[in-house]
Symmetry: C2
Subunit: 210 residues, 2 copies
């Protein structure tokens, strides 16, 4: 059985690096669709999602809302109080997440598990004893988290998953979603008219009518 | 036990999209180092590498050399003759490949397994009966290979591995290698002076002295 899953989430003006192809309203709806895919994967793995948001928004799931919050400060205020057992921290922009991949993370025999994101980031952290760890996101957070684990004497497994490695930040990342996605965020993009395109032998995305 | 592993390889003027940061001699040495990492991973998984090259080059490993060859034509000439059992096809630009990841591919219970590459490509194919399949690389080859499997009535498992998903084509891809690599291609880059850099909050690579 999996633990509570903290999912940091920014409902207002998210994913600004997609501004070249999605306006603010669309980016907010797209972020919401990606969150729905992550929640589905997490629930399918038997975990209870807790959305750690910067604004209250319409949702049936449990929300912790921290206005003007720094992600690290917020999570590092929660972790020391988490004496109730295992915890998962999952980014909200992982629309390729599957329950099987989340289960592989939670199945680690080590003290913790980590899934690296693109470009040195950290996409998922599993903590057997959350009180023994603190987070340090941004930049090459993967390396920082591995160091924090070593400093805390925690054994750590790196989980080899491209579905959890693929965070969506830029237009090029949408290629992966259109090829490998099967949830609400892929459907949202397709409903907007997004499709794969082949340009000089390389696969990209385009929006019909633009 | 794993099967023969075909590794397509271009020793002369490879990886031209890295020309912005590596000259031809360096690109050739770097491609050779990536090949060495792939060979080590494949051998560690109990597979026998067979390098399918466009030129003969200095190597102790078995080489099949096809001059002026089209990748698809070459492989599709080999597969129908492969009546001796299972076969693996592994791209040579996967320096994060590990034996554990290759073993996960070969452990499939399905007729075949496939690992998608970045941008819709195909990085690894495992075939229980190679004579029943043919390849179609380039473009969104992942989708094409899934369709070929369906048309041939072959069950297919998609293996979720970021280590085998991460092919190295462009400068930005080197970030992953410098963070997650531990073989000869990472060492080669570091010896050339490559290191991680943080530019406006995003992780990149730079070459010292340039």
């Amino acid at each position: 059985m999996c633990p509570h899953a903290l999912i940091p989430y920014k409902p207002v003006n998210p994913k600004t690096r997609l501004s070249c192809i999605l306006n603010q309203e669309e980016r907010e709806a797209f972020a919401r669709a990606m969150l729905a895919d992550v929640i589905a994967a997490v629930k399918g793995a038997g975990c209870s999602p807790v959305i750690v948001g910067t604004e209250l928004f319409d949702s049936d799931d449990v929300q912790v809302t921290v206005k003007d919050a720094d992600l690290n400060q917020t999570l590092n205020a929660i972790l020391p109080q988490s004496t109730g057992g295992q915890m998962l921290i999952v980014m909200a922009d992982l629309p390729l997440a599957t329950s099987a991949a989340i289960e592989r993370v939670c199945a680690t025999k080590k003290d913790m598990a980590i899934v690296p994101g693109r470009g040195g980031g950290t996409n998922v952290i599993f903590l057997r004893e959350p009180t023994r760890f603190h987070v340090n996101y941004y930049g090459t957070s993967f390396n920082k988290h591995m160091q924090i684990a070593r400093d805390a004497g925690l054994s750590c497994e790196v989980i080899d998953s491209f579905r959890l490695h693929t965070d969506i930040d830029e237009k090029e990342d949408l290629v992966e979603l259109l090829i490998h996605g099967d949830g609400s965020s892929r459907k949202y993009l397709e409903d907007l008219g997004f499709e794969l395109s082949l340009e000089r032998g390389r696969v990209g995305v385009r929006r019909r009518g633009t």
